[in-house]
């Protein structure tokens, strides 16, 4: 495949745009033709236009460095990543199935515990999870839904199979960048969308607003008051908090703006005095939500918030305690969980996972450590992991000891060959590994974004896509292909 003057080859990896014969995939044909007709100088020019549009629009993320908060311009690659609509339809069904089952699971755990009593998931896995919150026991959120907003990370292996790598059920972030990526690409390439049937993503804020309304307490009069609760302007995702509040037309509040009164209702401090709040889209971790119930030193939360939530006077999205289902050991049971509650097979497979809590599986992991990825059960952001093939002998030994000492806290997976897409690196297009984070909303009904946020590892061969660690992003196109 030619892009301008340079040849592009994805080697043995599955490339999202180019097939193994070097030809554009069917759904990406016009996209590839559009870009391959460009001289490399023009491509670089367009990338600059993308970069400066991002600076002008103030699309940024915050990183912490040496005690300082630094605003970085959001990195967006000029070439979109495309997937065929027919394939996406299957993925979408799979995500709806998955989130529906996970919500049944969480509701069951905090109430009847049938799945534990029936021996499908061992009770000690749940009881030893630090994301299982005892104060949530017996709570009954509306519609039986706990994880209202879920970001599931999808990856594609060398043979083209799409897997769920993990589910983020606590406070998943990134959706604002998905929306802004599309806005930027539309500004820089206004003509390109006319020749493609790309599914729009812009309705997300309306869908989120509708979902948040649908979970408000039943007994309120008039329109429910919905707010976004942020830890504040120093949080790395503050851009997103503000973006979502603005695009939904609702208030962005901090803990200090809210209080729980003697009637166990939540109020915000406004210029008119105190106003009742019905639904809180909280972007604060569980244990910081309420210093009365969890960390007494939390300055971010609202004293009494759990009281108000348990009394059914306010809805919290996501409900506290939802994180119990994104424990990586629980992850390994998700296909069983889907079968148990829905009597269906999982539409999107899990990455094969060995649980170190099982002595036989632990044995396998210890023997094959050099070929596996080992992950702690409760960390996110890629911390505390061992990537076997890239690690030293000494690191293998360290992990061997850790696994033996605390097997419950680890799982292991084979090293996947993540798919690639052409990415502008310097002056040429090169294959770079990527993943995809779609966002799923569940309230009275379920909504899935068309595509999601594609994150791309900018360094050659790297699998690390996190923006805090030098990852970039791409606009994600779901292209109609039904003829």
């Amino acid at each position: 495949m030619q892009f301008g003057h340079t040849r592009y080859s994805a080697d043995d990896f599955y490339d999202e745009l180019i097939d193994k014969n070097g030809e554009p995939r069917r759904h990406a044909r016009e996209l590839v033709e559009y870009f391959s007709a460009m001289e490399s100088g023009e491509l670089i020019e367009r990338q600059r236009a993308v970069d400066s549009t991002i600076v002008d629009m103030g699309i940024s993320f915050t990183i912490y460095s040496e005690g300082d908060n630094i605003d970085r311009a959001w990195p967006l690659d000029v070439i979109p990543r495309a997937m065929p609509g027919s394939e996406w339809d299957t993925v979408e069904r799979g995500l709806i199935q998955r989130v529906t089952a996970l919500n049944h699971f969480i509701d069951d755990l905090y109430n009847d515990r049938r799945i534990l009593n029936d021996g499908i998931v061992p009770a000690e896995i749940i009881d030893s999870s630090k994301n299982y919150l005892e104060p949530c026991r017996g709570a009954k959120p509306k519609h039986g839904v706990w994880a209202h907003i879920c970001g599931s990370d999808l990856v594609r292996d060398a043979d083209g199979t799409i897997y769920v790598l993990e589910d983020n059920l606590r406070v998943p972030s990134g959706v604002s960048y998905m929306l802004e990526n599309r806005n930027v690409i539309k500004r820089v390439f206004p003509s390109i969308f006319r020749n493609h049937r790309v599914r729009p993503v812009s309705e997300y804020p309306s869908a989120l607003n509708a979902m948040l309304r649908s979970i408000a307490p039943d007994d309120i009069e008039g329109r429910p008051e919905i707010v976004v609760l942020t830890p504040g302007i120093f949080n790395s995702a503050y851009f997103e908090h503000s973006y979502l509040a603005r695009t939904m037309g609702i208030e962005l509040v901090e803990g200090a703006d809210l209080l729980v009164d003697d009637d166990d209702c939540v109020y915000m401090r406004t210029i008119e005095g105190l106003t009742r709040v019905d639904t809180i889209y909280r972007r604060i971790d569980d244990t910081f939500l309420d210093p009365e119930a969890f960390r007494p030193d939390s300055m971010l939360g609202v004293p009494g918030l759990m009281r108000a939530w348990r009394a059914g006077n306010v809805a919290l999205a996501n409900a506290p305690g939802s994180g119990v289902a994104d424990d990586k050991v629980v992850y390994s049971y998700v296909p069983d969980i889907i079968r148990y509650y829905l009597d269906e097979d999982a539409i999107i497979p899990n990455v094969p996972t060995w649980r170190c809590s099982d002595p036989v599986q632990l044995d396998h992991v210890l023997t094959n450590l050099a070929d596996l990825v080992v992950k702690p059960a409760n960390e996110s952001g890629g911390y505390g992991m061992l990537v076997g093939p890239h690690a030293s002998q000494a690191e293998h030994e360290t992990f061997r000891e850790r696994l033996k000492a605390d097997p419950r806290n680890y799982i292991a997976q084979p090293t996947l060959s993540l798919s690639t897409a052409p990415t502008l690196c310097g002056e040429a297009l090169e294959p770079r590994h990527l993943d995809l984070r779609p966002f799923i909303l569940q309230g009275s009904s379920v909504y899935v974004t068309a595509g999601g946020l594609t994150r791309v590892a900018l360094r050659k061969g790297s699998l690390v896509v996190n923006s805090s660690q030098g990852g970039g992003s791409k606009d994600t196109w779901i292209v109609e292909d039904d003829g």
């Binding site: 103030g58 302007i233 503000s242 208030e251 509040v253 401090r269 008119e272 005095g273 105190l274």
Partner: protein, 311 residues
């Protein structure tokens, strides 16, 4: 509307207004000094006084040269009295109010901020000062235009406008204060250069044309001060600012306290000025005005920004 959000929008209004006024005052002052010979005694340190930054400037240890003063007033990011600081604060407050303000206002204030970071460092020294400041003024006006033209006229707009009008009245009173000092100190200056000086005062608040329409005769001190204090139609005259702020107070819930404080600003306006009105009298009057504007600001803070109902 959240109390905290109201506070941010109010400060966005104040800093945006301050930035525009500062840029215009420095621009016009630079022009004025080209017209006045050295022996008139009008010089750069007076500019520091207009911005109420005498102490901060002295503490900075900078020399009293044109370059050092302009650098302090325009570019010094550490100085709370600089144009760069006002632009940054306007940008920060608009940025943190993005959920309430039009997207274009954020994009434009961010562009102004990016521009000011590179341009203002050169504004003290170069021949481009006039243009750089004109750019800053133009961008501030553009942002104001976006806000006035696209924001619904409800609570966020009322707070923005309150911030702008209180700031504007304060700034106008400062300009009168410094100009009035010349009335007192330098009779020869007044005789020969009075018209130049007062024309400059008017231009510092973009008021020259409107003054001409209001009052045909020549530009003389008393008439200019009268115009800048009392005119109800010129939006930068103190009276007009106070009236506009009162309209905002009336539109907001629980605005009585502020209305009362604004009335007290209005009562301090002297009415038609007698010929004996001199620098000392003007200076005392401006002190009173500034103090009462400070009380109006305090009324805004107490009524709407301070937390209440602590559980």
């Amino acid at each position: 509307m959240l109390s905290r959000a109201a506070e941010r929008v109010y400060w966005a209004g104040r800093y945006l207004e301050r930035a525009e006024n500062m840029a215009r005052i420095v621009q016009q002052y630079s022009q004025l000094l080209l017209d006045l010979p050295e022996e008139t005694g009008v010089d750069w340190p007076d500019l520091v006084a207009i911005f109420g930054a005498r102490q901060a400037f002295a503490a900075s240890g900078a020399e009293r040269s044109e370059a050092a003063i302009l650098d302090f007033l325009l570019a010094d990011a550490n100085s709370g009295s600089s144009l760069a600081y006002s632009i940054r604060m306007a940008r920060d407050n608009i940025r943190n109010s993005r959920d309430l303000l039009p997207q274009e206002s954020w994009e434009n204030v961010n562009e102004l901020y990016q521009y000011s970071r590179s341009a203002l460092a050169n504004a003290a020294a170069t021949e481009n000062r006039f243009e750089i400041l004109a750019d800053c003024i133009g961008r501030c006006q553009q942002i104001n235009g976006i806000l006035v033209g696209t924001m619904s006229h409800n609570a966020p707009y009322f707070f923005l406008s309150l911030g702008e009008n209180i700031e504007r009245a304060d700034m106008t009173s400062r300009i009168i204060d410094v100009a009035a000092a010349y009335l007192q100190e330098n009779e020869r200056l007044v005789l020969r250069y009075g018209s130049t000086l007062w024309t400059n005062v008017l231009k510092s608040v973009s008021g020259f044309q409107m003054y001409r329409q209001y009052c045909q005769p020549e530009v003389i001190g008393l008439a200019v001060v009268d115009f800048l204090l009392h005119d109800r139609a010129f939006p930068r005259a103190v009276r007009a600012c106070v009236e506009e702020a009162k309209r905002m107070a009336a539109a907001l819930p629980r605005g009585e306290h502020l209305t009362h404080a604004l009335d007290r600003v209005g009562f301090a306006l002297p009415g038609p000025l007698a010929d004996e009105f001199d620098g000392a009298e003007a200076s005392a009057l401006m002190d009173t005005l500034q103090r009462r504007l400070g009380d109006a600001h305090a009324a805004v803070v107490e009524t709407w920004f301070l937390p209440e109902g602590d559980a």
